[in-house]
Subunit: 102 residues, 2 copies
């Protein structure tokens, strides 16, 4: 994987892999969302966090901006974009002191 186009294709494919389990590929229901998140998490992190279940519940409520009870594609992309912004800020922080002038 080397370019944004491949990365976008992965994001679309993974959404569809889980969203279409109930025959409706437009959105992730609670079970599909949980399954998708679980599949991304490394097992250790689940065991360490006692309130892992509540965490997913709260995350879904936060992401479901139109309160439809499901996560549609644009809510999913908003979630990933915010994660990317957090990743970027973390990367910039860790690069401080390197040869970039911040």
């Amino acid at each position: 994987l080397t370019c944004p186009k491949d990365a976008l294709a992965v994001m679309v494919d993974i959404f569809h892999e889980y969203a279409s389990k109930d025959g409706n590929a437009h959105s992730l229901n609670k079970g599909e969302f949980k399954e998708m998140i679980n599949a991304q998490e490394d097992p250790g992190s689940k065991l360490r966090s006692p309130n892992y279940k509540e965490g997913i519940q709260k995350l879904m409520i936060d992401l479901d901006s139109d309160k439809s009870g499901e996560i549609d594609f644009s809510e999913y992309m908003t979630f990933l974009a915010s994660l990317a912004v957090v990743c970027n800020e973390y990367l910039l922080e860790s690069m401080k002191g390197c040869h970039y002038n911040f």
Copy 2:
């Protein structure tokens, strides 16, 4: 590549690969943005479109929502998220008539 985390890492890495060329990894200047877009395009598409140059110019103006003259990371992610939504709609359209009930 199988998961959104990898896809996000690619998006952050590619932004940095181009944004840091002028020593400022926070945003893409016009040259860096053009170089990034050119690197993604297959050569054929550039030759076919006479107003390719104006297209990139206009795209940059459209994406630069804070009118800073550069594309920062969140403007970049907004661009990719909108592309993903277009990809998703195209995928859903092409899936019509398959076994999903739309």
